[in-house]
Symmetry: C2
Subunit: 268 residues, 2 copies
């Protein structure tokens, strides 16, 4: 999905919500375990209930991978079920040298036809460029994450006074364009969001951490929205586990709709 289609989808549906399908087989309602692929049944119903309130689904690969080979079949069924006009993100955070990075890009852009994948920057340009070579696909680089551990290295000050995450974002932005590159920035990092918007005013940001992790939608919008919207806000647990009963899909739909309604205000 290209940039203008994504922006149009956001304007049309009045939402920049990304729903995280981080489905843990231990946390889904019991009755689903009667189905042949309980996790897919869960995802399918969540997708049916939320697809009008979001523009993207993000699948954290860890949850599927932990199930073994069958998990990858579940992943495939889920991807195939997501409507064409919704951006699919493989939250994989891969990072490896050139020929191996090629294989990872092949996994998420060819073997599984995701629109986007997250990558880790520690190994530098040759670990990121192979993803950027896939036309029509998005590479989403970890900039500044929402977890406490972001303080350990990402926020280390460099000799030139800047922080590592600033350098990562500044350098990486040169290797791609605003049409094939986004950055992950945690919603809990509001002070730094301003700095990041100065470095990359036009790029899309994928922002987790609103809700459960403590980030504020209002503050994120104030600091990160740009003329093309420029943000996708991810929510996972707050939506998919809104209820653990028979009504889990309805509850997920309601939770997503409620976020969409809040987002709508900022798009007017």
């Amino acid at each position: 999905m290209d940039r203008s289609t994504l922006i149009n989808q956001i304007r049309e549906k009045q939402t920049f919500l990304c729903v995280g399908l981080d489905t843990d087989p231990d946390l889904i309602p019991d009755f689903l375990n009667e189905f042949e692929d309980p996790v897919f049944e869960f995802n399918k119903r969540i997708i049916d209930a939320t697809k009008n309130h979001c523009v993207s689904y993000k699948l954290n690969i860890a949850f599927y991978e932990a199930m073994g080979a069958e998990g990858w079949n579940t992943l495939k069924r889920t991807i195939d079920y997501i409507p064409e006009n919704i951006l699919t993100i493989a939250d994989a955070k891969r990072g490896d040298i050139g020929n191996t990075a090629n294989k990872y890009a092949q996994t998420f852009f060819k073997t599984y036809d995701f629109d986007a994948t997250t990558v880790a920057p520690y190994m530098g340009k040759d670990s990121i460029s192979p993803f950027l070579e896939h036309e029509g696909k998005w590479t989403i680089v970890l900039g500044l994450t929402s977890n406490p551990g972001s303080a350990h290295f990402q926020k280390k000050q460099l000799a030139d006074g800047k922080f590592l995450f600033e350098e990562v974002i500044k350098q990486t932005a040169k290797w791609g364009s605003q049409s094939n590159l986004m950055f992950v920035v945690g919603a809990t990092q509001t002070e730094e969001l301003k700095t990041i918007r100065e470095i990359i005013p036009n790029h899309f940001l994928l922002i987790p951490g609103v809700g459960a992790q403590g980030g504020s939608l209002d503050e994120v919008c104030r600091l990160a929205l740009n003329k093309d919207v420029g943000i996708l806000i991810n929510s996972s647990r707050g939506i998919i586990y809104a209820s653990k009963g028979l009504d889990f899909d309805k509850a997920a739909g309601d939770a997503a709709k409620s976020i969409q309604q809040s987002m709508k205000v900022y798009l007017d």
Copy 2:
């Protein structure tokens, strides 16, 4: 496999070679494509031919993942085929926040019973600790990699004059012990190997980049060997693709034996 068993294996077999089973289905001999699982057939024969000359096998997960669900079955067959007394490493370079890092640790230590897995440090302590909690398993953190891109961030100078990779190694070493933590250090980075040995004199290092990538066995041994040996040197393409003919396994065995013979000298 615990530290003393690993050291004993090295002393007994007179080798600290790790063979990289980075098997690309496009690069294996044609005749193997008649088998139901060509990549496993390839791996099986490589293992048979090299197991007496190495103490470890490292499977770069990218190559298996790119094959889809079937690739994970091939991975499982390969792991199951490797003899008990050989250290198995999942070269996965995963890195994600707490509850997701748990899932990745589950993948490689439970769903697939690897002895060790590589992880990326960019997201800090909560992305690494969940791996360290698995008793009897090894977490191998990317310190300084062998690729050109290592210059972009790993070798950035920090405000205190140190380089990022030094900080990563120094901090991470505090989160585990020399019995459950190793570091990846590229063989091409000889100048920095000395510095790294000063920071962590006792930890095992997993060293790729000897051979094809230009690192020298002699220089690496001079700078990185310690009283418990303390290094595993990985070779992938130079061994598994030593020949592309019917004799590929014999050629791989010869290549591994030749490295083992060179290593033997440094163990005396």
